[in-house]
């Protein structure tokens, strides 16, 4: 039955090749545009750390007050003073203050030039909090944090460049002329967007290759490689910078349960209230505690281009479907006499439905094949619209191929629904009479 209807469908499609080609092309273009933009959208809007995204939180404390803050919202970063107060309070299971650093790795071989190595100044909790995978060794301990230890965790790439990929734990590495003892080497860590480093190419920049203890980085006066915003005069010198109202530190806390998060929110509020009482803040507590996905949405991580092009592509698909519906209607109604004969010979309405839906599905399948080819072509052009760091993430995988076929067939069936219904309504007696 199925194969008979399929053959009938193919025969009908062959009878009017131009119309068929138009439908297949409309479906193919529509699906390809949607899938190409979707492939970009899904990498930018994905959850970077699904197993923990709802238990990792970033704390924000308004340090500027109404009129100077970000339209009522606290700025995205904290002052050193607030970050340290929150760290020392130890109110979360794990917590880390962090900021991005830009160092230069100096190879031991004096003939080789130094090269840039970006990274983060963090606390030892960072690695367990963010599930950082290790190739060798591990992160450092809380006592290393307290001792301002000269230790470092390096990334796999840096390890390959400096130590030729060998287990470098225990060896020394020179960063900006200062020696550090390697305690761990991280494996490739493909967390995107890098929710804790959104100011570097919107969270899609190269992965950090250097992790230093926050306490040690401050001793060495390493400036942040990301933004600093200051509201009042800073004065000169490192100490006055540290204790200024400039915001530049992020504070992440791991709060496994909703109750923990609520308790931490209360604590943050209490902290800001206390700052108001001591006169440091001249405004009511204005704090935020956002988990990873809330943070990504608040910081608008998905590029405007990705959203607009997705919107345009899906509207495009919709228009293609309306177009296909019109063409199918014409095609099916032209065969009213044929339907009349079939119905008169005893075919049920259901049989007519089946026959025409299968014909439409074969159009959808052909559209899917064209759509896949065009999606492949579209992938090659993704880097013309999007930042290269994002474009290189967009790729065709099995799930995208599956989605392309499903969307193509389903949307064609959707478009075919009304024309098929009309076809099934054909009155056999009337058709036979008029012919």
């Amino acid at each position: 039955m199925f194969s008979y209807y399929f053959q009938l469908g193919l025969r009908s499609l062959r009878r009017n090749p131009l119309l068929t080609a138009l439908m297949v092309m409309a479906i193919g273009f529509g699906v390809a545009a949607s899938m190409t933009t979707w492939s970009v959208f899904r990498v930018t809007s994905g959850n970077p750390i699904p197993q923990k995204s709802s238990s990792l939180f970033i704390a924000q404390v308004d340090n500027y007050g109404q009129g100077n803050n970000d339209a009522g919202e606290p700025l995205p970063w904290l002052t050193y003073t607030d970050a340290m107060a929150l760290m020392h309070a130890h109110q979360a299971k794990r917590q880390t203050a962090l900021y991005a650093i830009a160092t230069s790795a100096v190879p031991a071989d004096p003939q080789r030039l130094a090269f840039p190595a970006r990274g983060y100044a963090t606390y030892g909790d960072f690695f367990a909090m963010f599930d950082v995978p290790f190739l060798f060794g591990s992160g450092w301990s809380a006592s290393d944090d307290e001792a301002h230890a000269s230790v470092v965790v390096i990334g796999r790439e840096l390890n390959e460049k400096i130590f030729a990929g060998a287990n470098s734990v225990g060896r020394e590495i020179n960063l900006d002329g200062v020696n550090y003892r390697v305690v761990g080497v991280t494996d490739r860590w493909e967390v995107r967007p890098r929710f804790f480093d959104l100011d570097n190419r919107g969270g899609f920049g190269v992965a950090g290759q250097v992790y230093l203890p926050f306490t040690r980085a401050l001793d060495l006066r390493l400036k942040t490689a990301s933004g600093i915003t200051c509201n009042r005069d800073v004065g000169s010198g490192w100490e006055s910078f540290l204790h200024s109202d400039c915001v530049w530190v992020s504070l992440w806390a791991e709060l496994p349960t909703a109750a923990d998060a609520e308790r931490y929110r209360q604590f943050l509020y209490g902290y800001a209230a206390q700052q108001q009482r001591t006169g440091r803040f001249g405004w009511a507590p204005n704090v935020r505690l956002r988990d990873v996905m809330q943070w990504l949405s608040y910081r608008h991580v998905v590029p405007k281009e990705a959203q607009i092009s997705l919107l345009v592509a899906f509207s495009f698909l919709l228009i293609c479907l309306v177009n296909t519906a019109g063409l199918l209607l014409a095609k099916f109604m032209r065969r009213a006499p044929e339907i009349g004969v079939r119905r008169a010979l005893g075919a049920s309405k259901l049989a007519v439905y089946m026959q025409f839906m299968i014909e439409a599905a074969s159009v959808g399948l052909a559209g899917a094949v064209l759509g896949l080819l065009l999606t492949g072509l579209g992938m090659l052009c993704v880097d013309r619209v999007f930042d290269p760091s994002i474009a290189k993430l967009a790729h065709i995988d099995l799930s995208l191929v599956g989605l392309t076929i499903v969307v193509s067939v389903l949307s064609t069936l959707l478009a075919a629904f009304y024309p098929t219904w009309r076809a099934a309504q054909v009155q056999p007696a009337w058709q036979l009479k008029s012919n």
């Binding site: 840039p116 607009i308 519906a325 109604m333």
Partner: protein, 407 residues
């Protein structure tokens, strides 16, 4: 031509009529917004930076092991760059137009005032910046070599003298010349900076800046005391590639304790291309979408009208037999399409404006102006007429004999 019979005929083809009208409406909504986006992006990327962009080279540089309190090594580096054969001039700076990010500072006319006159991009430069960039002074003078100072990491950019753009001068001093007047850069209570020169135009570092704000720029005669710097080099015609090769070597000869990233040496043309890449991409994408959409809509109209013509051969034959001319038949189908398309563009105009309003709320887009809608309306009406022409001509060739054939 009578419209009434056409409408009553259309009533028998509600579904087809509505499908075409819907397709026209959706296409109009997308096309007028796409045209608008294209226009906006083209306007954005063709904005002049104010500098003479040909023969310019930029070099990103990071000094290894430089502490914040050390004096900037830029002076020695720049001297080495100026020695390279083929180099006209060079200077060191924190940023330049289109680089992406830089320093911004609030500017006041009264040091104690809460309100600022504006936020200005700040370029830390020396006396070679104006000739290197080819900036045009419209008033006052350039910095002198003995006026170039050094700056610490944390302070305000409140140098004793500054040069500002004309746009910023007009904003700060709408009633007269800015020359010789003080401005206060940075946080409240800073020191005065006297305006000694006004340049015609100079864009801020971020291509994201919109409108007049992108022209609010201040030149500060200080070497920024950070561990990174950009060098901007003007070469003699035809020497760009040679200098691009020679410059990293010349800098390494000064000291090896530096990092120049792999893509650190760029011509300004490359800087511009990178800065406006996504704009170019959006223009291409939207143009492609418009073309394909119009083609698909046209094909839909051709397909459905052909079907109608086939269906009505008998009626056409009867009309012809009763004295209707070929012209009458042709204009029947053209008018029919015009009516459907009109319904489509009316709905499409509403949809297009709605889409624009939604995008304004979501993506801070500007308000769609009516000419884009009108352009879209005219385009779709013409497209409909063109698409319907072939089937309509075929209909007009139906012979009156057709009336007698079937049954």
């Amino acid at each position: 031509m009578q419209i009434k019979p056409i409408i009553s005929a259309l009533k028998h083809h509600k579904a087809g009529t509505l499908l075409i009208a819907m397709q026209v409406a959706l296409t109009l909504a997308i096309v007028c917004n796409a045209l608008f986006i294209i226009r906006q992006r083209i306007e954005h990327l063709s904005r002049p930076t104010g500098i003479e962009e040909s023969q310019l080279l930029t070099i990103a540089n990071h000094w290894v092991g430089k502490k914040e309190d050390d004096y900037s090594p830029a002076k020695v580096d720049v001297a080495a760059l100026r020695q390279i054969p083929g180099v006209v001039d060079a200077y060191s700076t924190n940023a330049y137009p289109l680089i992406g990010n830089g320093w911004k500072s609030g500017v006041r006319k009264d040091p104690q005032a809460k309100d600022q006159v504006g936020v200005s991009a700040v370029y830390f430069v020396d006396d070679h910046a104006l000739p290197t960039l080819g900036l045009k002074l419209v008033a006052g003078r350039n910095f002198r070599a003995d006026e170039i100072g050094e700056m610490g990491q944390n302070g305000n950019p409140d140098a004793p003298i500054i040069i500002i753009t004309k746009a910023f001068a007009d904003k700060a001093f709408p009633d007269g010349s800015a020359l010789g007047k003080p401005l206060y850069l940075g946080t409240r209570g800073g020191r005065p900076s006297i305006v000694i020169g006004v340049v015609e135009r100079l864009e801020s570092p971020s291509p994201e800046d919109e409108g007049a704000e992108s022209q609010y720029t201040t030149l500060v005669p200080w070497r920024l005391n950070r561990d990174f710097s950009s060098f901007v080099v003007r070469t003699q015609p035809g020497q760009l590639d040679a200098v691009a090769k020679a410059a990293p070597a010349a800098l390494s000869a000064v000291t090896r304790m530096r990092v120049i990233p792999d893509d650190g040496v760029q011509t300004f043309a490359e800087v511009r291309e990178a800065a406006y890449k996504s704009d170019h991409g959006m223009v291409e994408l939207m143009a492609a979408v418009c073309v394909v959409l119009l083609a698909i809509t046209a094909s839909g109209i051709v397909g459905l009208t052909s079907f109608w013509v086939g269906q009505r051969r008998k009626q056409i034959g009867v009309r012809r037999a009763l004295g209707a001319t070929k012209r009458d038949i042709l204009s029947y189908f053209l008018t029919e399409n015009l009516l459907i398309s009109l319904l489509g563009v009316v709905v499409g105009t509403v949809l297009g404006i709605g889409l624009n309003l939604w995008m304004m709320a979501q993506f801070e887009m500007n308000r769609l102006t009516m000419n884009y809608v009108l352009t879209g309306v005219v385009a779709l009406l013409l497209l409909g007429q063109a698409a319907v022409l072939a089937p309509a001509l075929r209909a007009s060739r139906v012979s009156p004999v057709e009336a007698t054939r079937t049954v």
